[in-house]
């Protein structure tokens, strides 16, 4: 009997002690931030923050405006935003940060550091820059089925990265490349067009400063060097001249100087090696495979010769484009491809480049670009 009472008391006391929430968070009372836009403020050393939040109201209004605030740092702007909404702002669902062009040119690390330090912010968040003020981009009103523009940006970037049009740029990747000696970060560039957020290209950074924006066509070649393709797509322009004899069978014989070709299911791999250390010469070997999907002129694809010519021309075009991009990065002195890390992982001791040496040396690096192209098949027609 006594034992039963004892057991009963223990059970009751556990109910008493262990029920209840540690920290109450009621969904309707939270302002869940999905995207943050940061711009340069009006005064010196001031940032302007735009915070996009979820809305959980019954009446869905089409109009959605972010919360705006000023602050000395990104964190301060976030704290200032507290006084502008009745909801408790939380960052656990943050999907993207957007940095306006002026801020990005000055350096974004001071405003990113806080996010990286915050344990509630996921490392998978997208770090992006915008080519117009971030406030503008976040005020876009068309965002398809997404509940708000922040989620839309996240889905958009997910889709574009998935399609292998740009390289992945999560907070983790950015921090890693920023901290690495011998590599510079790259981020996607967002813009607004017809009230929609769009991806326009890639931003090349030197440390944490935006130096150059390249378009999506060039972004293909950046990815070709940095990453591997599993199912990419490439559009190139080829001169008609060499192929005229193979087009003769088809009417009418083309007048234009060039024709377009789309290669799909692109698979690629790239290897970077230090070739001649004394001349700072690197070898960049790229294997490129793909299928011809579209030609806007009829060519006799049956003949082996044409395929071989196409392969050769493709290799040349890719090599030229890559060389162009490499020259551009050398002019700007941004080592987006991490040649410095390849150098440093090859040599020990004195031959290793320190951060300053690497900045000084990078424009003098030489590259041997070598592309091997293989056309696997050409669709379901001859």
């Amino acid at each position: 009997m006594k034992n039963k009472i004892k057991k009963f008391l223990i059970i009751v006391s556990t109910f008493m002690l262990l029920t209840g929430c540690a920290q109450e968070r009621i969904l309707e009372q939270l302002g869940i931030i999905t995207a943050i836009g940061l711009d340069k403020g009006e005064e010196e050393r001031e940032v302007f923050g735009s915070f996009v939040t979820y809305k959980f109201s019954q009446q869905l209004s089409n109009e959605s405006t972010p919360i705006y605030s000023y602050g000395r740092t990104a964190r301060d702007a976030y704290n200032q935003a507290f006084s502008k909404t009745a909801k408790q702002l939380v960052t656990g669902q943050l999907r993207a940060v957007l940095y306006g062009p002026e801020l990005a040119k000055e350096g974004i690390w001071p405003h990113l550091n806080g996010l990286q330090r915050n344990q509630f912010v996921t490392d998978l968040l997208y770090v992006t820059v915008t080519d117009m003020p971030a406030k503008e981009v976040l005020s876009a009103q068309i965002y398809e089925e997404a509940p708000n523009v922040g989620i839309y940006i996240y889905k958009l970037l997910d889709q574009v990265v998935g399609k292998e049009q740009i390289i992945d740029s999560s907070l983790h990747e950015f921090t890693k490349n920023y901290m690495k000696i011998g590599a510079d970060p790259i981020t996607p560039v967002l813009s607004k067009k017809d009230d929609r957020v769009i991806v326009t290209g890639l931003g090349l950074f030197q440390d944490d400063r935006l130096m150059e924006i390249i378009d999506l066509r060039e972004a293909f070649y950046v990815r070709l060097i940095l990453d591997e393709f599993k199912a990419g797509e490439l559009q190139v322009e080829l001169p008609t001249e060499n192929y005229r004899q193979f087009m003769e069978d088809f009417d009418p014989s083309p007048e234009e100087e060039s024709f377009e070709m789309t290669v799909q299911q692109v698979r690629s791999s790239s290897t970077i090696t230090v070739k001649e250390p004394e001349n700072n010469r690197f070898g960049l070997d790229i294997n490129f495979e793909g299928e011809i999907r579209e030609l806007n002129k009829e060519i006799d694809l049956e003949s082996e010769e044409v395929i071989r010519m196409l392969e050769k021309d493709l290799s040349k075009i890719i090599e030229d484009n890559i060389t162009k991009i490499l020259e551009k990065t050398q002019e700007l002195n941004v080592d987006s491809f991490g040649f410095g890390t390849f150098w440093n992982s090859t040599f020990k001791g004195n031959k290793k480049l320190s951060e300053e040496e690497w900045r000084k040396e990078y424009p003098n690096f030489q590259f041997d670009v070598n592309v091997k192209t293989k056309i696997l098949r050409h669709g379901i027609t001859q």
């Binding site: 920290q23 344990q119 983790h172 921090t175 890693k176 000696i181």
Partner: protein
């Protein structure tokens, strides 16, 4: 023998459970900080340092088992009594208790620190820690077989978490591992010292040995347990070297948890928070084993009932939890635990080894004479 231990047969367990016990006591709070701590000294050759330390740990484990075998079925206190006499044995016994307490307290504070930093910043660490100690008391009340069972079950529950690291493993940058063998003597030494801390805990065998039913298998299973630990530690170290930039790895306090930040499932978006709470399954057996070690040695020295002494330990650790509230104090405590651990885990067996060898030789002579 002065103090023959008569462990009742129903309290003994099979040697195969040693695998889980050793894995549980070795993998604890330390593993999330280990990559950074080793990397600070050994850079990209950290994996090499871990392998060297692991070899030393395997040897030490063999030495401990050799000594225990020589003294047939008694535990550390019995051995000390036989070699040094009653008085010194007591001194060493108490020193060991103090050491166990420091390790126990530092593990407890560090885990509550995880919870406070990652999940509930507003919570008092005292309450989190106190709730955990109740579970520990429950296990001590249950006795050794419950403890072994907990180790086994929690191993099964928590082991898969290491497998999730396959996700960050796909994101590694192989450049980070090269050039190989760049480490200098200083870095090697400091790296060895730091990585030695993650092998504290093999001293659990000193007190567990009498409880093993089939003692001839002790060597096999405890070495296997240690080996599994080494594989797990190597996994953490190698993946985090590739995953982070060198400077970044040095700046992170708990790279182990930060790696979980990039894992996201459609049904579970933030695995890092889940991992921190799930880490309890890894910490709890660890704490329980240390609590058992303390109460067990108190029982051997002072004949205090384990059910009584555990409350003393809980009260003391709660007081400790209350007073250690900054990260710096915690670091101090960890340092004390690490340095004393070096002595008690790594040097102590070597100290006892000559005595055991002499005893063996004498024993062999006696047998010949008979």
């Amino acid at each position: 023998m002065k103090n023959p231990l008569n462990i009742p047969e129903h309290l003994k367990f099979r040697a195969s459970y040693l695998f889980f016990i050793l894995f549980n006591i070795l993998i604890g709070v330390g593993v999330v900080a280990l990559p950074r701590r080793v990397f600070q000294h050994a850079k990209q050759d950290s994996w090499l340092v871990i392998i060297i330390t692991a070899v030393i740990a395997h040897l030490l484990l063999a030495i401990i088992i050799f000594i225990l075998k020589t003294y047939k079925g008694t535990d550390l206190y019995g051995i000390l009594q036989e070699t040094f006499g009653n008085w010194l044995a007591k001194v060493f016994g108490y020193l060991f208790i103090v050491y166990f307490f420091i390790v126990y307290l530092s593990a407890l504070t560090k885990y509550t620190e995880f919870i406070v930093v990652f999940i509930f910043p507003q919570h008092s660490r005292f309450i989190i820690g106190f709730l955990m100690t109740i579970l520990i008391a429950y296990c001590i009340y249950g006795g050794i077989r419950v403890i072994v069972g907990v180790c086994f079950l929690f191993f099964l529950l928590s082991f898969w978490l290491n497998g999730v690291l396959a996700v960050p493993a796909t994101m590694i940058d192989t450049n980070n591992y090269f050039p190989l063998f760049e480490i200098d003597r200083n870095g090697l030494f400091n790296g060895l010292l730091v990585s030695a801390y993650s092998f504290l805990g093999i001293e659990v065998l000193w007190y567990l040995y009498p409880y093993i039913r089939n003692k001839e298998k002790t060597m096999l299973y405890s070495q296997l347990g240690l080996f599994a630990t080494v594989i797990a530690l190597l996994g953490y170290v190698i993946i985090s070297i590739g995953f982070f930039a060198p400077k970044q790895l040095e700046s992170l306090i708990w790279p182990g948890f930060v790696m979980f930040k990039v894992i996201s499932f459609s049904v579970f978006e933030r695995l890092d928070i889940f991992a921190v709470s799930f880490w309890k399954f890894i910490i709890l057996p660890n704490l329980i084993l240390y609590a058992w070690l303390m109460t067990r040695s108190l029982k051997r020295i002072k004949h205090i009932k384990q059910k009584h002494s555990i409350w003393g330990i809980i009260i003391l650790s709660s007081i400790g939890l209350h007073f250690i509230d900054t990260q710096r104090q915690l670091e101090h405590l960890l340092k004390i635990a690490d340095y004393s651990g070096l002595f008690f885990t790594f040097l102590f067996p070597i100290l006892l080894l000559p005595f055991a060898i002499i005893k063996r030789i004498r024993g062999a002579k006696n047998e010949k004479q008979n």
